[in-house]
């Protein structure tokens, strides 16, 4: 081991030192312009043939590079242009390059598929790439939304700035099976275990590319990438220089259906400067502000503990109504004991009361709509930057930070208002063409975030207690001032006056609600604000200051082993420090640490004159609370012909249960407590001496003890075949894949009940039992399969058209198994656009269309059928070359056809904007 370490250190030093002494002696300067539009071409790569020297054009298209002498051959490349070579023979040569835009497809390179640079055409696994040019021309208001148009991608929209993409099923608000890596950093909020949408991360103008790996990807990117990994890469300040900004102003809610029409603002700025050949820096910032989409599903539904599906009934027809996006009405009680209490005090009414109580009389408190309680203003502010220093031509040191704050809404087991959430990611990194060392941390602070359900329920309690309890907290001790007592008395009064059941209920509600703070009133706001400032469980505030620390390194041994195979090895150490001060995790006594270590290796070897490329990868990870896991990947790329490649892969992926699945300890209302799966909970809640019973058996009247099983990571094994090919003069790009996967030890939750009295007799009554939601593994294997097909075609005159269709399905789901598969069977995207046509090719446009099939959404918050929907985005643009600027008029959901893509989430409508961008590249 020591030998290997010494060898690695020697290699690193050799890489840094050997190149640091390299010297140049002539300087070549020039300018590069787009041959069609005559615009300056920025961020174009200039290298000297036969040397390591390289630079990029600045925002004016100028470059300056040192060479050993004349003649020197410049290699000029940039994505979207035909590569050029130019021989410079003397200092007097004027170098003005007319750079020709490429009209062919499939020329991009990707890094994420194999952690080494390779042509996208030759990726051994399915991959999708979004370039900065794609983002510039997309009609989407945010770069993050462009992912939606990729094949096989589903997105759940919790709110305007909280969107969760995934591939191959299992989408949800907050997806723990999909990695999102920004500039090499896992940008999950560590307390939540999923990426908080685009709330943190890169600013719009700093995104160089996004690469999406659909499907299992743990072998290279570690636990979590069960369903895919999205890698977002920023612009290096050496390459992308100058000041850029974009001002977008838009309008939402134009039809006044959810809110009054309101403005949308998105201002972003990036400034990068190459101070010297060694040092560059960048500063990026972005501000988004708008009135958010509103979750307006007021349908009645079955509460937690059932299947969460919508049912008939409204506040006026069901006394026990629980609206999906209505909060506070989760509090429910059977008023029969109160009526019986009245009968005991007034025996002359007892026989009449007996006629009313044949069935449970469940009544819910009156709730408040989401729109009434959640700050309508969604705001997102990001600040980022980096300092880049070139230790040599091949080695760059980077110190970078991305910080974001804002208000948004996401859906977990309840709806959460993430208010003044702050997440910062900070890294130091050494990048060499052969190796990488990186250390980073994610610092999370939930700010004033609160659980909308709990807060509203407790606001109701703060105004008027539901029912009083004796000091033991278990025995009800009803008081005349209690809401349910007033309700029951008034209900009885209504029945005594001959009223129908529902009239008596509605009358009783109006009596018990006398003096209830009106939504939006100062009284309500004062009460609500007070409750949301108190930590859970006494209030609705969830304190989450969980941090993540990560160190990783990678070495590419290809320079030594290339004769045999390209070999890459890497390792990482990750540590979560859970800190919710007892409001989310079982950490009231102090922070909880969870460590993970992992290492991976990969070998790539080509055969048969590079016609076949085999890649073998493997990864081993170990978590504090779980046994180590090995995940292999094998892939083959077969070049059927030039630009016609077949890819085959076998991949595995797994994830350790999330930090919440390990350590959550949260009372979510409805008499249900979410617990983590680590053994400590069993002893803390005395489950060995006072056993827990499956809730369904308790409800069926014959309680069965729940037998705990080992709590394990879940895993997926996936087989895939794909084809990517260029034809019709490289103007048609076809990409096709089919996959088959099998999930093992699938993680889900199960409800169990425990008697408060210690006797099984206590299980029968909701007041003498606790219900726990435990994370468990499903023993049955679940199979998933699907396909995707995309075609992109370059039409004459710069027009391009593309379409993709994809499908995902799940089978062998055991009866009663809640899979949370959450994927439409089919989805379809199409686009049509042109980035330069008309006079001086200054006009541009792009239209995208998306349709997705209906599907049954299963979530911890609510479940139900999501209808199929379609949406059209479009933009037209006008370039103003003299000022290096562009005007854009765009629309997201052009036809304002409202849709939801998950039950209980916001309805998304039309957003129309104009933007002015300066120096966008």
């Amino acid at each position: 081991m020591r030998k290997i370490t010494s060898y690695l250190i020697a290699c690193l030093l050799a890489n840094i030192v050997s190149v640091a002494v390299f010297a140049q002696n002539v300087t070549i300067s020039g300018n590069i312009k787009n041959s069609v539009t005559q615009e300056n071409a920025s961020a174009v790569s200039i290298t000297i043939k036969g040397s390591n020297a390289g630079t990029f054009t600045d925002d004016k298209g100028n470059f300056s590079i040192s060479a050993k002498g004349y003649p020197a051959t410049l290699i000029i490349t940039s994505v979207g242009y035909e590569p050029q070579e130019l021989v410079v023979r003397s200092a007097s040569d004027k170098i003005n390059v007319s750079f020709v835009p490429a009209s062919t497809l499939g020329q991009e390179v990707v890094v994420s598929a194999s952690r080494v640079v390779e042509k996208i055409m030759e990726s051994p696994v399915s991959i999708e790439r979004v370039s900065a040019a794609n983002i510039r021309s997309a009609p989407s208001v945010s770069y993050y939304d462009v992912v939606t148009t990729l094949k096989g991608v589903d997105v759940v929209t919790s709110s305007l700035t909280f969107k969760t993409p995934t591939t191959r099923g299992f989408v949800g608000s907050g997806n723990t099976r999909f990695n999102q890596i920004v500039d090499g950093m896992d940008n999950q909020a560590p307390g939540l275990n999923f990426a908080v949408g685009s709330v943190i991360g890169l600013s719009q103008l700093d995104v160089e590319s996004m690469e999406l790996l659909p499907g299992a990807s743990s072998a290279l990117y570690g636990p979590g990438g069960m369903n895919g990994t999205l890698l977002i890469n920023s612009k290096n300040p050496f390459k992308y220089q100058g000041l850029s900004f974009e001002v977008k102003t838009g309008i939402m809610h134009t039809d006044g259906k959810q809110r009054e029409p309101s403005p949308y603002y998105n201002w972003s700025l990036r400034w990068a400067k190459k101070v010297s050949e060694k040092f560059a820096f960048k500063i990026t910032t972005e501000l988004v502000q708008a009135k958010d989409w509103v979750a307006v599903d007021y349908r009645n539904y079955k509460r937690l503990g059932t299947d969460g599906t919508p049912i008939a009934g409204t506040r006026l027809t069901d006394p026990n109504y629980d609206g999906i996006n209505v909060y506070g009405d989760e509090t429910t009680a059977d008023i029969r004991p109160i009526l019986q209490g009245i009968g005991a005090q007034a025996p002359f009414l007892a026989p009449f009361i007996n006629t009313l109580i044949g069935q449970p009389l469940n009544v819910s408190r009156t709730g408040y709509r989401e729109a009434d309680i959640i700050d309508p203003t969604t705001i997102n502010y990001k600040l980022g930057g980096s300092l880049n220093y070139k230790l040599s031509n091949n080695t760059e040191a980077i110190v970078a930070g991305y910080w974001g704050t804002g208000n948004t809404v996401y859906t977990g087991s309840d709806r959460y208002s993430l208010k003044n959430l702050k997440v910062g990611q900070y890294k130091v990194e050494l990048l060499n063409k052969n190796w990488m060392l990186r250390a980073y941390t994610t610092q999370e602070n939930a700010g004033e975030s609160f659980n909308a359900t709990i807060t509203t329920r407790l606001t109701n309690e703060a105004w008027k207690k539901s029912i009083s309890f004796a000091p033991d907290g278990i025995t009800p001790a009803p008081q005349a001032s209690d809401w349910y007592v007033q309700y029951a008395q008034a209900y009885l009064g209504g029945k005594l006056a001959g009223q129908s059941n529902i009239d008596a209920h509605n009358g009783a509600r109006s009596v018990a609600d006398i003096g209830r703070p009106a939504a939006g009133s100062a009284q309500f706001k004062q009460l609500f604000d007070k409750v949301r400032a108190i930590p859970i469980p006494k209030g609705g505030l969830f304190t989450d200051k969980t941090d993540l620390y990560m160190a990783e390194g990678q070495y590419n041994f290809s320079q030594f082993t290339g004769g045999f195979a390209d070999i890459l090895v890497g390792a990482n150490y990750k540590k979560y420090v859970l800190n919710s001060e007892g409001t989310l995790f079982a950490d009231s006594a102090g922070t909880i640490g969870i460590s993970e270590v992992g290492a991976y290796a990969q070998a790539i070897k080509s055969f048969l004159d590079d016609k076949v490329k085999l890649t073998l990868s493997g990864r081993y990870d170990k978590n504090t609370n779980f046994k180590g896991r090995f995940t292999p990947r094998a892939s083959a790329l077969v070049k059927l012909a030039e630009d016609h490649n077949l890819r085959l892969s076998y991949q595995t992926a797994y994830r350790f249960p999330s930090t919440q699945q390990q350590w959550i300890n949260l009372d979510v209302g409805g008499n249900v407590r979410l617990l983590g799966g680590v053994d400590d909970f069993r002893s803390f809640y005395n489950m060995d001496s006072n056993p827990v019973y499956t809730l369904e058996s308790v409800q069926a009247g014959s309680p069965q003890v729940y037998q705990a099983q080992e709590f394990k990571p879940e895993s997926v094994t996936s087989y895939e075949i794909g084809y990517k090919g260029l034809s019709m003069g490289k103007k048609l790009l076809v990409d096709l894949y089919g996959y088959y996967g099998q999930y093992t030890d699938f993680l889900t939750r199960r409800l169990v009940a425990q008697s408060k009295t210690g006797s099984p007799a206590g299980l029968a009554n909701s007041t003498t039992r606790n219900i726990y939601s435990l994370p468990v593994n499903i023993n049955d294997k679940v199979k998933t399969y699907g396909f995707g097909l995309s075609m992109d075609y370059r039409l004459p005159l710069g027009f391009n058209v593309g379409a993709n269709v994809s499908s995902d399905d799940l089978k062998d789901v055991p009866p009663g198994f809640v899979s949370f598969f959450n994927s439409p069977k089919y989805r379809f995207n199409a686009n049509f656009g042109n980035n330069g046509f008309g006079p001086a090719k200054r006009l541009g446009f792009n239209v995208t269309y998306r349709w997705q099939d209906t599907y049954f959404y299963q979530g911890d918050f609510a479940s139900g059928t999501v209808p199929s929907f379609q949406t059209v985005d479009a933009q037209v643009s006008l370039k103003l070359p003299q000022t290096k600027s562009i005007l854009k008029l765009g629309a997201n959901n052009l036809l304002n056809q409202y849709y939801v893509n998950a039950i209980g989430n916001a309805q998304v409508g039309g957003l129309y904007y104009v933007s002015f961008g300066y120096n966008l590249y």
Partner: protein
């Protein structure tokens, strides 16, 4: 050119079709139909009474009471007890102090109801004959003694909004009754409830059991016994309080003075002759152990309100308040015989109650004397528990 035109037309058609497709609205999430209330069929209670010729006087009473709107409110449902015109004439005759003979024309009776009978009285009577919800005859239990069911009459809303005077429908194989009055017909359905016809107009009680005991000469020794029993230092005044409690629901078998004198004379070993004045017996009662007197008094009280029509036709023991202290005591044995009075219905011919230690059953000499908190049956023997 034709070909090009066709291509153009096809293209335009496709474009138009796709525009229709794209501009079609997205479907909303599944919505559930809001249940529409079942439409009311038939006419309401008030209208039903109005339409029934033999209920014309009762209809006048409803109008006088101001409860017509209530009875015609089809949002609510009620059980309405209606007395036919014959019963109403009896009522008017009594209410007019005999000034209006039973045989007077209905117009005269109607005029009395509409102009002479205080509206508040009419309101109290009608509301006492209205029970909330629809109580069909089949839902009236046949078990002893009856179903205590609230009317919509709250005599003291200032005391409690939930206070209601209750009435007591009952049913047996040989008939059905409201309190002690036969139900001549049942289950006349209306849009918002059901009507049962009573053989006599049921009027609400307005005084308490104690008011009667306290004032009636024939209950002087019963009163003394209650007062002696209430000297119990562990529960002072408890019996009197119960007899004055509107929430109580009691049957009091009240031995008259003669019965008490006979029993006390026997108990005194003949030292006090049955002909002695009340004062002698009261003095004697006050010498008896409190527990003994209390035991005897509570043995005369049932914790339910049993009208004589509720008595079983075969002698059957029912518990008394004494069972609160002596749970195993058999109670008192009740028995009644019935007679079907033409045009009126099944009523009690004879009723008896027998104490466990009495050689013979006591006869109910005055039955079904109704009060706010119970019913009194006057009997001719003191009941002896042992």
């Amino acid at each position: 050119m034709i070909f090009n035109n066709n291509k153009l037309k096809t293209g335009l058609l496709l474009l138009t079709a796709s525009l229709f497709f794209i501009t079609a609205c997205n479907k909303d999430v599944q919505q559930f139909p809001v249940p529409t209330p079942t439409p009311v069929t038939g006419i309401a209670l008030g209208e039903t009474v109005k339409a029934t010729a033999d209920d014309s006087l009762y209809y006048k009473l409803i109008v006088r009471s101001g409860l017509l709107t209530t009875l015609n409110n089809t949002s609510n449902s009620y059980t309405l007890y209606v007395a036919g015109n014959a019963a109403m004439r009896q009522f008017v005759n009594i209410a007019s102090g005999g000034l209006i003979p039973i045989a007077a024309p209905d117009a005269v009776h109607a005029n009395f109801i509409s102009t002479q009978l205080p509206a508040s009285s009419a309101g109290a009577i009608v509301s006492y004959n209205i029970s909330p919800q629809k109580l069909l005859a089949a839902s009236i239990p046949t078990s002893f003694p009856n179903l205590q069911f609230p009317s919509i009459f709250n005599p003291a809303p200032q005391v409690s909004a939930l206070l209601r005077l209750t009435n007591f429908p009952s049913r047996r194989a040989n008939g059905a009754w409201l309190n002690a009055f036969p139900l001549k017909s049942t289950d006349l359905l209306a849009a918002n409830g059901v009507i049962h016809h009573t053989a006599a107009l049921l009027t609400p009680p307005s005084t308490y059991l104690w008011d009667r005991i306290n004032s009636a000469p024939q209950f002087a020794l019963l009163k003394a016994s209650v007062q002696r029993a209430d000297a119990d230092p562990t529960a002072p005044g408890a019996l009197q309080a119960a007899l004055l409690n509107i929430g109580a629901n009691l049957t009091l078998f009240a031995p008259d003075t003669t019965a008490f004198k006979n029993a006390l004379s026997f108990l005194s070993g003949g030292a006090i002759p049955p002909t002695a004045p009340n004062a002698n017996f009261i003095g004697f009662i006050n010498t008896l152990p409190i527990a003994t007197v209390k035991g005897i008094v509570v043995y005369h009280i049932l914790g339910t309100r049993a009208f004589s029509v509720n008595f079983p036709t075969t002698s059957t023991f029912v518990p008394t308040l004494l069972n609160g202290a002596v749970p195993t005591h058999p109670g008192v044995a009740l028995q009644a015989t019935f007679v079907d009075v033409p045009g009126f219905g099944m009523v009690t011919a004879t009723a008896t109650v027998k104490g466990a230690a009495n050689p013979t059953a006591a006869n109910v000499t005055t039955k079904d004397d109704h009060f706010l908190n119970g019913v009194i049956h006057t009997i001719d023997q003191v009941l002896l528990p042992q």
